[in-house]
Symmetry: C2
């Protein structure tokens, strides 16, 4: 297996916490030799799209993804149309940044709904509609299957196999973003990773760790090496399936990492990239 140095890492801006700007993230990447960045859209909006694109280009950073499109299910047609319009804007931003993909967190149940199958149909429809536009803009869509604990409120695509089934119904221009946090527990993981690679749909790979105990469903992810995920083994499967892109670090950690200075976070990321990823 290849060695993961700073060049092979990409910084997802969420790892620095909500208080840091895109400029701070870009400058921190430069100081630590990080090869890529994956900005959230609120950070792009804060900086302004043109300015964000120029900063990232001048820093020589690859854009491993833009976070995020999706959130399709809605209670009515007006809500669904709003979501589609928002996804078109997300595609435009990913195109302007030259992103490797637009990460799709597809959305959960509409308010007051218990119709999970219906939400999943809305997601398939929303992805199909967005894909038409994304193909024209040359932006690959990457469905990120989210951990089942987010099925109600964030994403009703919850396994890699399920995401690949959706991709197969939609054709070219769409694939998957594999985040270890969401899929590490899946007894069918290795087979699904191989399937993603064989179908050319493995577009992004995200790392962090699962802590024991986990104190919060959303904001208690661990730094690589601090939890129970066998990161080396999963990366082996991902690379055996043909993936040669960056390892994107996305850590939501309101209690442990976000309070720390960016330099401490990135120095740890780089060290753990070598020793644990």
């Amino acid at each position: 297996m290849r060695e993961i140095t700073a060049r092979e890492l990409s910084l997802n801006t969420a790892t620095l916490g909500p208080a840091r700007s895109l400029r701070e993230a870009v400058q921190a990447c430069l100081r630590h030799g990080i090869g890529g960045i994956s900005p959230w859209r609120d950070k792009i909006a804060e900086a302004g799209l043109d300015n964000a694109a120029r900063m990232i280009r001048e820093a020589g950073l690859a854009v491993s993804g833009v976070c995020r499109g999706g959130m399709f299910p809605a209670a009515d047609a007006e809500g669904r149309n709003r979501a589609l319009a928002e996804n078109h804007r997300a595609v435009d931003e990913a195109a302007a940044l030259g992103a490797a993909c637009l990460v799709m967190v597809v959305g959960g149940l509409p308010p007051a709904s218990k119709d999970l199958a219906g939400a999943r149909r809305q997601v398939a429809d929303g992805l199909a509609a967005t894909l038409g536009y994304a193909r024209v803009q040359n932006v690959p869509l990457a469905i990120e299957p989210l951990h089942p604990m987010y099925a109600a409120d964030r994403a009703c695509i919850n396994t890699l196999g399920q995401a690949l089934d959706v991709c197969d119904t939609l054709g070219p221009g769409i694939g998957v973003a594999i985040d270890v946090y969401h899929v590490w527990w899946d007894p069918d993981l290795d087979a699904a990773i191989a399937r993603a690679g064989a179908s050319g749909r493995l577009l992004a790979y995200h790392v962090c760790d699962w802590l024991v105990p986990t104190r919060d469903l959303l904001l208690d992810r661990g730094m690589m090496g601090d939890g129970v995920i066998d990161l080396r083994r999963i990366r082996g499967s991902v690379e055996a399936a043909g993936y040669a892109g960056p390892c994107e670090v996305e850590i939501f950690s309101s209690m442990t990492w976000w309070p720390k200075p960016p330099d401490e976070i990135l120095a740890t990321m780089v060290e753990r990239g070598r020793s644990c990823v």
Copy 2:
């Protein structure tokens, strides 16, 4: 679909919280016409096994299960042997109570381990060893697949399909306990329920609800009807697969329900059984 009255419900003792005795649970069931009970082993131990069996028998309650066996993975052979001995005692208790099954929460990763596949092999071995004894005692074992958010620390069998695969390698005398909290998100749920029924392995059905937001990974389950699970639909699948046993109510709720008096909890259970389950 049949109507779920108090007679069709079974009270899992965890629903009353850790402060209530088995005697309090039995008496509350009698007051509310609940048809069954499913005691945790700590409550059996508190009451004494003979006394527990007599109380339940005299109350005319069916025992829908005993919670719980399992917790097989360990760091060394001594730990594994301790777990097997503990499981033999659990089988004995289930036999003494005439339980419909011994619920198996199989265990997660041993301390400091990241070897999920190895833990799953230890679970299969532990189940096989326990099954030999359980068959002699005429106690069906029921694997409870747990939500993937418990894969590290409680159970590394995380989907119904995975549980049924394990059952198929082990032969007769073992099946599954389906708890909606753990499986409601699964895109393959209906197929797996049908498979469980067709193979005669559908031994228990547990209900509660998934709250949005969920404030704690373990102790924030909802009362039926207060969350997003389409309980009527899932019970339809379970009954179409041939299940005609009780609906066992198991709600870990340290903030909302455990502080309430047992009569309020049971009255709500009975009302929601009719209106929501």
